[in-house]
């Protein structure tokens, strides 16, 4: 498969997941702000923006500003609208390798944004819409794509992004914590609240919730689950059949982080959650770099220096 196409597939996976997870995070935070009058709006908004990677913010931010920046404004690099536009742009570049239904679900989601329908949707319905579109795209991919390299890259992108975003979700929960409500809604946002209750027999503590979101091996949105999947994809992509060690940098990075999470004691990990989560995000960024270097670097163009003939 062409390096450039592989790169597009990887980023389709990431952008779609990014749109979905941003919607999930916003869903929790906006409803918390509405329900809990004791929360400091300004502090919560600032915390949320900084966790989502917005560096420069005005002194006064309110919920509308947050929604514009993280959801509606296509010019804001961290918004849902921008993520969907970028997914569509990546899909356009890989269009001849995508199945027609796959292209059409991505394109129609993007049509909603350029036609203004997206901007007219109110919270919280807009978040549901994003989740549904993402499910439609992922489902269509699952149902129509052959399990070739392209699929592996799509999954790899999705898993790395998911690990990254779940870590951000956990970070937001710990920033405004103090109430177990916060963790409850975080679990709800992942669609894993009931699963969590069943697993822990109703014993809902902050510690248990963090453990579930970070370490559960069976819950598909947990960090460890996502990292495991990412490792598998990388393993499938490297068909070297070597017997010793791991030669792929991305695989090594992800594997090491996953092992650290799993083998360290939980108290150690949750002691300083925000810092831990930042480390995790850094791993994801480094892994992306390594994947780019290993598989996509061929897409960098050679420049011709010299004069033309005719």
């Amino acid at each position: 498969m062409l390096s450039r196409i592989a790169e597009s597939m990887f980023w389709i996976g990431r952008y779609v997941e990014r749109a979905e997870d941003t919607a999930r995070i916003l869903d929790v935070q906006t409803s918390l702000l509405l329900e809990d009058a004791t929360l400091d709006v300004d502090e919560t908004c600032h915390g949320l923006l900084s966790i989502m990677g917005v560096e420069e913010t005005p002194d006064d931010v309110d919920i509308d500003f947050v929604l514009q920046t993280l959801a509606y404004d296509p010019a804001s690099p961290v918004s849902i609208a921008a993520a969907i536009a970028a997914a569509r742009e990546s899909a356009r570049r890989a269009r001849e390798t995508l199945s027609v239904p796959m292209w059409e679900v991505i394109n129609t989601a993007h049509r909603d944004i350029v036609s203004g329908t997206f901007a007219r949707r109110r919270t919280p319905h807009v978040f549901q819409w994003v989740r549904e579109r993402a499910a439609l795209i992922n489902g269509t991919a699952d149902a129509t794509m052959t399990r070739d390299e392209g699929w592996q890259f799509l999954m790899l992108g999705r898993c790395i992004e998911r690990a990254d975003m779940t870590s951000r979700l956990v970070a937001t929960a710990s920033v405004t914590s103090g109430t177990t409500d916060q963790w409850t809604s975080t679990l709800r946002a992942c669609g894993g609240y009931e699963a969590f209750l069943r697993t822990y027999r109703g014993l809902s503590t902050e510690r248990a919730a963090a453990e579930f979101l970070l370490l559960d091996r069976l819950f598909p949105r947990s960090v460890v689950f996502s990292l495991n999947r990412a490792e598998q994809c990388l393993d499938n992509l490297e068909v070297s059949g070597q017997r010793a060690g791991i030669h792929n940098d991305a695989q090594r990075l992800i594997g090491r982080t996953r092992a650290e999470l799993e083998y360290r004691s939980l108290s150690d990990v949750v002691a300083d959650l925000p810092t831990e989560m930042e480390r995790l995000q850094r791993t994801c960024a480094l892994a992306t770099e390594a994947v780019t270097k290993r598989f996509f670097a061929g897409a960098e163009s050679l420049a011709w220096h010299g004069t033309g003939g005719a």
Partner: protein, 538 residues
């Protein structure tokens, strides 16, 4: 009100559907099957049609902006007999052009025999020495061609121009057929229409047949300038339907006279490149040194016979508008046949005698630059202002070789649904031909382009033109059995125009933005180059 009531063709142009009040034979069935359709029903179908094109992303770009390709709901019908003549004429033309190109880039017998002066070729900006003495493995240089036809006031088809470099538009022929079939199922069912879906397989077979000698299972790729090119949709569609890779220049690399593509598993050889990049951008070693669309060394690889470019480099000399004026003689010279389809009468402004007459009659003629395409630089005398004509006169006197003149031909009209009503609009036709070395195959149908503004004669989509599905009928004409006239409800309607797509959002996330977002944030020089000056060429 019945569908076609109140429709009036505007003379002197030939209307393909109506002869005065009577309907012409090819359209009888169409009229009958549409007679019962009410205007609101038609409008709702038009809306569904436009929505489906937007959802599928059937678009073309003007100046970097993506637009839905306009498709009129009423098809154009061509009868079997008419078509078989066009088919023969296009085949003849492509064969002659092939022989002419082979001769031009070899011995040049045609010059020695006085059919066409050598300077006509050597002064053409599309004549490339790099292409001289390169013999394509199966002798084909014009793998794909599009011959533009129009219908004059008597209804006779004539050739307006030849396109043997990178003709575009064939993807819309295929998507138009699918869209119209679902928009007008009853009408489609009432006709026997020759299918167009086989085109990609024909093209792939021709490309594989063109592979370098000794390569048994060649790797074929489509080379696109990139997503900013006007015809990117078409490039992606052709690659997808042929099941081959769509590559950009940066995906390719030349090593020791061979062209390779970069894959996740390393470099892989490429044997046939169906390139949709203009000659000047193909290889910075030989042509424009600043080109970012091609791959350095590609021409040398082609000269060494390790890779085949389709269409061949240097084909532009054959579709030069000045060479066009010699084409009837060229056909007679190589094939010893009379041309099946005639040219439009044309003066070579470079000839002193003709020049005088042309300059006298500037305000009644159409003046065309010889190496323009996409309708660029054309001046229609009767519609030009005094100042425009003076400017034109100065340009002609400065470089007469660069111009040809033609009488104003009123392109034929076909009923078209614009702004909620049916009106006559001018159309042309671009049939596509594929040459696999054994025979020239003409796609039954072709792209009908329609000027959507009333009275407008320029049909190029870069100038606001649309398209029509083109039905070539299989079998003899059948007059429908007359049916009872049913009273139709009257309605007034307005058509909603779709909102133009918003410009792509600007975005990047701090840590890991990803390439697509970076590309959205800035316009590169590459984006401009990808539009390749001419913009959408169809």
């Amino acid at each position: 009100m019945a569908m076609f009531e109140g429709y009036e063709s505007t003379g002197p142009a030939y209307d393909e559907m109506f002869d005065g009040d009577g309907v012409r034979a090819p359209y009888a069935r169409l009229r009958q099957s549409l007679q019962t359709l009410t205007t609101p029903e038609l409008v709702s179908r038009v809306e569904a049609l436009q929505a489906s094109y937007l959802d599928q992303g059937v678009t073309f770009d003007i100046g970097g902006e993506e637009r839905a390709f306009p498709l009129d709901i009423l098809p154009r019908v061509i009868e079997q007999d008419t078509w078989s003549r066009l088919d023969a004429g296009v085949q003849q033309r492509v064969k002659a052009l092939e022989m002419f190109l082979a001769d031009v880039y070899d011995a040049g017998q045609v010059f020695d025999d006085g059919v066409i002066p050598r300077r006509v070729i050597t002064t053409s900006s599309h004549y490339h020495r790099a292409a001289a003495n390169v013999r394509p493995p199966n002798g084909v240089r014009v793998h794909v061609s599009g011959i533009d036809l129009i219908r004059d006031n008597q209804g006779e088809f004539r050739v307006l121009e030849d396109n043997v470099r990178v003709p575009s538009g064939v993807s819309y022929v295929m998507t138009n057929r699918r869209a119209i079939t679902s928009a007008l199922p009853e009408t489609t069912a009432a006709h026997r229409i020759r299918p167009v879906a086989a085109y990609p397989q024909r093209l792939l077979a021709a490309l594989r047949a063109a592979a370098p000698a000794g390569v048994i299972d060649p790797t074929v790729v489509v080379l696109t300038p990139g997503v900013y090119n006007g015809a990117y949709f078409e490039h992606a569609l052709l690659a997808r339907t042929m099941g081959v890779e769509l590559v950009e220049g940066r995906d390719l690399e030349c090593r020791r006279g061979r062209v390779m593509m970069r894959t996740t598993q390393g470099l892989a050889p490429v044997h046939v490149i169906y390139r949709r990049v203009d000659d000047e951008f193909l290889d910075p070693v030989h042509f424009r040194a600043d080109s970012m669309l091609g791959c350095p060394g590609m021409i040398d690889a082609a000269r060494a016979g390790n890779v085949v470019l389709a269409n061949a480099v240097g084909n532009g000399v054959a579709d030069d508008k000045l060479v066009y004026t010699y084409l009837p003689d060229i056909i007679r010279y190589y094939l010893s046949e009379e041309p099946v389809i005639n040219n439009v009468d044309t003066w070579r402004v470079g000839d002193a005698e003709a020049r005088e007459e042309v300059l006298d009659r500037l305000d009644e003629l159409v003046l065309k630059p010889v190496d323009g395409s996409g309708g660029k630089g054309i001046v229609i005398g009767p519609r030009a202002t005094r100042a425009e004509l003076d400017e034109l006169r100065a340009k002609i006197l400065q470089s007469p070789r660069d111009w040809i003149a033609q009488p104003v031909v009123q392109l034929s009209t076909v009923p078209t649904f614009v702004d909620g009503e049916l009106g006559p609009r001018h159309v042309d036709l671009r049939p596509f031909a594929v040459n696999d070395g054994n025979r020239v195959w003409v796609l039954p149908g072709g792209l009908t382009r329609v000027a959507l503004a009333q009275g407008e004669l320029i049909v190029n989509s870069s100038r606001g033109g649309g398209s029509k599905d083109t039905w070539v009928l299989a079998g003899p004409p059948v007059w429908p059995t007359p049916s009872d006239d049913e009273p139709q409800p009257e309605h007034e309607v307005e058509v909603e125009t779709p909102e133009p797509p918003a410009p792509p959002p600007v975005a990047t996330r701090p840590e890991t933005p990803g390439p697509a977002i970076t590309a959205l944030t800035s316009t590169h020089e590459q984006a401009e180059q990808q539009q390749q000056e001419g913009g959408a060429r169809c």
